[in-house]
Amino acid sequence: MFIENGFLLVIAALPFVGALIPGLMIRAGRTACASFTAIPTAFALVLLAMLAPEVMQGNVIRYEVEWLPQLGLSAAFFLDGLGLLFAGMILGVGLLITLYARFYLSGEDPMGQFYTYLLLFQGAMLGIVISDNILLLLIFWELTSLSSFLLIGYWKHLPEGRQGARMALAVTGAGGLAMIGGMLILGQIVGSYNLTDILTEGEAIRASEWYLPALVLILLGAFTKSAQFPFHFWLPHAMAAPTPVSAYLHSATMVKAGVFLMARMWPALAGTDAWFYLVATTGLITMVLGALIALFKDDLKALLAFSTVSHLGLLTMLLGFGTKLAAVVAVFHIINHLTFKAALFMTAGIVDHETHTRDIKRLGGLRHLMPVTFLVGTVAALSMAGIPLFNGFLSKEMMLEEAAHTTWGNSPYAVGALATLGALLSVAYSFRFIAHVFLGPVRDDYPAKPHDPPFGMWAAPALLAACVVIIGILPAAVVGPLVAVAGGAVIGGGEMPYYSLKIWHGITPALFMSVIAVAGGLVLLAMHRPLDRVWNAVPRPEAKTIFDALIARVAGASRGITESMHNGAISRYLAIFFVTTLIVGYAAWAGGGLTEATRAPLPVPPAVAIGWVLLIVAVISVTITHRRRFLSLVIIGVVGLMLSAGFVYLSAPDLALTQISVETVTIMLLLLALHFLPKETPVESGAALRLRDGAIAAASGLGVAALAYTFMLRDVDTISDFHLANSYEGGGGTNVVNVILVDFRGYDTYGEIIVLGIAGLVIFALMETLLNGPVARRLRETVYEPDRSRDRHPLMMVVATRVMMPIAVMVGIYIFLRGHNEPGGGFVAGLVISIALLMQYMASGFAWTQARQRFEYHGLIGFGVIIAGLTGAGAMLAGKPFLTSAFDYFHFPPIEEFELATAMAFDLGVFLVVFGAVMLMLYSLSRLARIAGETVNREPMDYDPTDRVENRKEA
């Protein structure tokens, strides 16, 4: 039965919201920081506890918020038994870790950062276990990879930490990518991305031909996350993390995510041969191999890491068996492993913290010096060994029972024997943990004098150790209901298999296997020293070396590709780009069909033909004469002019106006720039290169011409009829192009003026930086040729431009005002007035004009954008969408009736930005000239005839 409850969303969000707290609270001290970190976790735990009774009754709590329904992605959460178990573990252990870390971390460690990462991780992990949508689950899955990367690499100064974090991220991240593929396939098979739907479609999924790829991809994700062979190598390297992280991520939560996923998907994917052989075999190998390596590790945390690998293998194997009973046993062992392994990690952390070493060979005899730690560690380790009265015994016994009844291939004994071997090794390393750390004689060469830590540090592991014992003695009463409801969720409902959680099952095969394991383990421990020597003498493949070599090869290959393509030669990139475009264009042309031409070609009158010849000749001349820069610049002006004429002829008066004014400004700009650049381009490219470029250019030109010609002869459906029909009624203007700019597509225009404004500011900033650097010195040393003109500001030009100035401004204003109804508008007006001002600059020089300027161009750009933006926002005040235009007609005698439209204010903004940006660009360039030692004139012209009159008067 499903129950809606919004608390789920709150639980999912709490850790992420809480992640903001530590960073703020760290200023109030470390204890305050830790306490406040605990609050969101505790709060989430309380909410979870409020939901728990419903779940324990077998109900499922759901909550869904639409996110991207088009992609099948919704923020859907659900909480069933399995989710409850994991969420409880994540939050509960999270609380303990918060407490433990407060005492573990030293004063130099940035604790606020640690808790922030921890809460982020907690949120991601929590998200995985309560997501109902597999796409959402994937997002959280990747988030755990990222946040665990931050946590593992928390001690940034340690190279092992950084390398371990990178390795963990590379392995789990790659697995996550594979899993995305698997999940998408799964979603496609079922037709829904919601887990609740997927879990009921197990039959259809297993029957699908896509089952195997989906299974393999999803398992890749799960195996990498849960450190299954052959991906087990990252986990020990991740032990470079602070111990609280290891205890949290690598015993209780993150590495269990893979196991969780296999358990979650169990109803959908399990039960086939492929599942059994892939999952159970991997688990079995991992279990034995991990235990074997753990036995010979001297680093306490490495020992625990490999034992974790081994136990994860055990869980994987149980899930892989595919029987309902095995799945329930797996759930039970998840609980048990959590309690003893987290306690063990914390114990190892305490030992490390107090003795300053984790090397087992340097430890021993600590039971007298650290009695509390000894007690806690021993209880947990005995549980790990599977000794009766501790909880590890119960689930190990049930596991052995299951293994004894499993047939692999044709062999009925293989699994049982190997599982016993795994258990035996497990006993050996567990006892080694106790014997070599705590037992034995007290030594006098510990790096630091050991003693028990403060209460806050041993409280958390002690609590877990207490759980170990309580569950071990009264399993059915303490965790029975939880195992039942979580196990029920794993097997996907239906009848529960018969099992019983108790210490004494009678004389069973498992009991014999256990006895063999304990006895064999003790023997192995006794023989540890000689075995250790043998182990160290035998060469083994080192996973890290292989991994590093692999990474180096991949990095080398990608560097090779990058450097051959991306070698700093822009010409090469561009050539590659053009050739690629050509090939793609050719492919499209070759693959597509062509309809009949529907338009008759227009006639070509003689005037047009002359213009065309001029244009073509000019373009070719520019290309031929491009080494003589000044000449080519003059000729390119002809091109722009001819284009403007073409626009006029082809019914585009607005374009013609814009083109011709832009042309003017561009040429001025290039002329100014050319002043500082070399006047000639040297011959550098050989004939072959030129031929190649020519071929690329000719082919591209032909292609574009053919494309243009083809589509011009065919009709097209256009949305312009709407614009033509609504321009006057809706936009209040008869110049449709202008109405489109300021009204229909005003948002576009708004963006574009902002871009233009930014371009102006970029140029200004660039010049500013340049002139404050060493370039300024070089510029000051510029030597000018002696034969420069002495009359740089000629009288005729000064007078002419002075006369033209008001006229040009008039024209600009006129063009601006008529823009809405006749060709013109803000763009053109801005350019025209810029040109009027530029003429003053040219005639009378930079300094003279600048001294008479009363406003800053930056400000103009800013005001323009603000005016345009406010006009648009004004429409929102009136309850209409952004940039909706309003207009009305007014009549004041004796002036003729005229129209006022808000679009005009918008156009004013456009005008100001265009004007400001253009002027700012040219102003920046002319500053260069000033630095370069151009004489600064205070007079408007170099030779002023009125001076002579004045002089004569005085004389």
Binding site: V604, R627, V639, L655, L770
Partner: protein
């Protein structure tokens, strides 16, 4: 008329690309200017050609108009391409003033890149 426009676009594109592939900043800028002309005319032509049909609504009854939308798009494109050219000119100028060469490729003779490497 279509042939005229198409061939103009083609020649502009070809010259533009040829110049863009040169090794010095100034021809590259000229090439980009030619390419933007080509792109603008190409876009404009996508509204199909029409003579004496400017998209300015007539007060005197029915008339036919050319497609105004490409014109509006091209109008802003012209202004933006000016902005782009200007930024590019400045970058080229700054690079030239700093490095003493306006070669566009790294490591090309005279860019100073090799000297800096030798120094470090």
């Amino acid at each position: 008329m279509e042939v005229v426009v198409a061939s103009a676009v083609g020649v502009l594109t070809a010259s533009g690309i040829y110049l863009v592939l040169r090794l010095r900043a100034f021809p590259v800028i000229l090439g980009l200017a030619l390419l933007s002309y080509a792109a603008n005319v190409f876009l404009f032509a996508s509204g199909r050609l029409a003579i004496n049909m400017p998209p300015v609504l007539s007060k005197y009854g029915e008339a036919s108009y050319t497609d105004p939308l490409p014109q509006a798009l091209v109008l802003t494109a012209i202004v933006i391409s000016f902005g782009m050219t200007a930024v590019l000119v400045m970058v080229a100028l700054a690079a030239y003033l700093k490095a003493g060469s306006d070669a566009v490729n790294m490591g090309a003779p005279g860019t100073g890149a090799e000297d800096e490497e030798a120094d470090s």
